[in-house]
């Protein structure tokens, strides 16, 4: 573990990524204490106030207010909770199903493998955001359905990664030794192979977190994810469209929040890849 941290610290941008993720976590956990207002608190007389440092800004609203007089800073802080939840739920969903599919395909091989990988190919044949839109249009627009859609869209990628890394481990001598010792299939899969095949899966999950946040913001921007008054960054941007001339601050800050979140997880994933799986980096 100490060696891992030493190696990881060498990569400055990866450390920067971790810092962003830690700030996000603090924002999400302590949101009610950091935010100056409740995220859905409307105050119409105070609508469209610019950020504090601009002309007409007030110190009570650090980043200004939106068209309903809601405090933008508080909404962005609370938005961190939603983005992290979306990332965690959809990555959890993709990972669970991806693990089951990838493990089954790799372990049983033959027709089972062929069948599962065909499904994976079909799912990958449709662009992710399109597939997510289709799923949301079936289930109906809401934050939960958007998370489900993003989770489903991610399954094939995880299935592929899991299958590939299990396949490389499966033929190694320690696995054969354990099999000869009489380990059951379940023990072989979960106790012997999986811990050794985990590196690419961890890297993929970190990067997947970033794309889940991005996709959920995209769906909400289209009006297919979080619904008002949920303080979701993508839907805040979609509200800002009509105020681009009069209240540009409504555009900048939610977008920056999405950008830094995605950047943080991408950098962290990059750093993990360097340490855990240097072979992957060369490809």
């Amino acid at each position: 573990m100490r060696e891992f941290i030493r190696q990881y610290k060498k990569n400055k941008s990866a450390v920067f990524g971790v810092c962003i993720v830690i700030i996000l976590l603090i924002m999400a956990i302590f949101a009610p204490f950091i935010a100056s207002h409740l995220p859905a608190d409307q105050n119409l007389p105070n609508r469209l106030i610019p950020p504090m440092w601009e002309e007409g800004g007030v110190s009570a609203h650090l980043l200004g207010t939106d068209d309903f007089g809601r405090d933008l800073f508080s909404r962005i802080i609370h938005g961190a909770r939603i983005s992290l939840m979306v990332g965690a739920v959809s990555v959890g969903l993709s990972l669970t199903f991806g693990l089951v599919m990838g493990l089954t395909a790799a372990f049983y091989g033959g027709k089972v493998d062929l069948f599962i990988m065909r499904i994976v190919d079909i799912m990958l044949a449709i662009p992710a955001i399109l597939l997510a839109i289709v799923i949301v249009s079936i289930l109906g627009p809401s934050l939960i359905n958007a998370m489900i859609a993003i989770g489903i869209v991610g399954i094939p990628i995880y299935a592929r990664v899991v299958r590939a890394s299990v396949l490389t481990e499966r033929e190694k001598e320690y696995v054969i030794a354990s099999r000869i010792n009489g380990s059951s299939n379940m023990r072989l899969i979960f106790k012997v192979i999986l811990p050794n095949a985990a590196s690419p899966i961890i890297v993929q999950s970190t990067m997947g977190f970033a794309s889940a946040v991005l996709e959920s913001a995209g769906l909400s921007f289209l009006g297919l994810g979080a619904q008002p008054p949920t303080p979701e960054w993508g839907s805040m941007l979609s509200d800002s469209l009509q105020f681009i001339m009069t209240a540009p601050w409504m555009i900048f800050y939610p977008g920056l929040a999405i950008f830094f979140t995605v950047l943080g997880f991408n950098l962290m994933g990059d750093g993990l890849m360097d340490v855990l799986d240097p072979k992957l980096k060369d490809k």
Binding site: P127, I129, I133, G255
Partner: protein
């Protein structure tokens, strides 16, 4: 190579079959009766039953799928549930707008991405390298729709030099010959309209092209660095080739192989990316059409748009794979 091409073509069939099956089941997976959805909750049982029969919903699923597929084979994608126009016609009206945007975005991404990648590779660890790789990393993490909004704010609202949205100013009216406004305006020799079209294209093309540009730049850089280490580059240097010759003639040709593949694959995903960009810029293409259909729960349009976009995506991937087989001697000679 011939057997590779045949194998690759055959593999496309189950994929396409799977996509049609998924698109077909959409209507049946969504909660509620499609006939009730069209007629409204207050419709009486008799008219619902009649519409169900008319839509073929009373037949067994496999018969419905058969009818659906044979209609598609005849080019009949059904009619929009809101405008009652044939879906294929509506699609063809909008497709050139998306293709024009995606092509321009790809040209932007390729030129800037390849150039930045080459310079970064030969001037490794320089300020240019660090800056361009940071921009490339930022580009991958950027929400496209947000980038679009920021571009609109700076170039349209603040500087007022580029239009906010749409394809062409209201004062222009050009004849739709190909549907590509850049080509149409040149055909009718309306250069002002051409200039206006180009101005409308700049911001959405930059927004849509940023992610591919970032990926192409990173790919070109790593591929060039890899190639520059090869023995034949040393040989070229040793026999006295100029730096320019070494980079452009010897290294670039070999380094571009994986880049070309990625460019092809990304062109397909640009169609999907255009869904968000078109919404930001009110671009009248298939992305915006699809999103509107989702708002109105217009299933014939959602189904067909999905099917067509997915087919285009699969076809482009197939072409890229086949071209790659033709270019790459490792596959060509096997």
């Amino acid at each position: 190579m011939f057997s590779y091409i045949i194998k690759r073509l055959i593999w496309t069939i189950p994929t396409l079959f799977g996509v049609t099956l998924m698109v077909f089941s959409m209507v049946h997976l969504s909660p509620g009766d499609p006939a009730v959805a069209i007629l409204g909750d207050k419709a009486n049982a008799q008219s619902v039953k009649e519409l169900r029969a008319q839509m073929g919903l009373d037949k067994p699923l496999y018969t419905q799928y058969y009818i659906y597929m044979s209609n598609i084979a005849k080019g009949d994608f059904g009619r929009s549930a809101t405008s009652y126009e044939p879906v294929l016609e509506e699609f063809m009206d909008r497709f050139p707008a998306t293709l024009e945007l995606a092509s321009l975005a790809m040209i932007f991404a390729t030129i800037i991405g390849v150039l930045a990648g080459i310079i970064s590779a030969i001037k490794r660890y320089s300020i240019f390298d660090y800056t361009s790789m940071f921009v490339a990393l930022a580009g991958v993490s950027m929400p496209v729709f947000w980038l679009g909004l920021v571009l609109i704010y700076f170039f349209s609202v603040k500087l007022g030099i580029l239009p906010v949205s749409g394809r062409l100013g209201y004062e222009f009216d050009i004849e739709h010959i190909t549907g590509f406004y850049l080509i149409d305006s040149l055909l009718v020799k309306d250069y002002e309209a051409f200039w206006d079209t180009l101005k409308h294209l700049v911001l959405p093309a930059v927004a849509l092209g940023t992610i591919p540009m970032a990926i192409i730049a990173r790919m070109t850089r790593s591929s060039m660095i890899e190639v520059m280490k090869e023995e034949y580059i040393k040989t070229a240097r040793a026999k006295g080739c100029s730096r320019f010759q070494v980079v452009v003639i010897h290294a670039l040709r070999n380094a571009l192989m994986p880049v070309v593949t990625i460019i092809g694959l990304m062109f397909g995903s640009l169609f999907a990316g255009s869904i968000l960009t078109e919404t930001t810029f009110s671009w009248p293409g298939i992305g915006k059409w699809l999103v509107n259909a989702v708002y109105q729960r217009d299933f014939p349009v959602i189904q067909s748009a999905t099917l067509i976009i997915a087919t285009v995506f699969i076809a482009i991937n197939l072409i890229v794979d086949l071209l790659y087989a033709v270019i790459n001697p490792k596959i060509r000679l096997s």
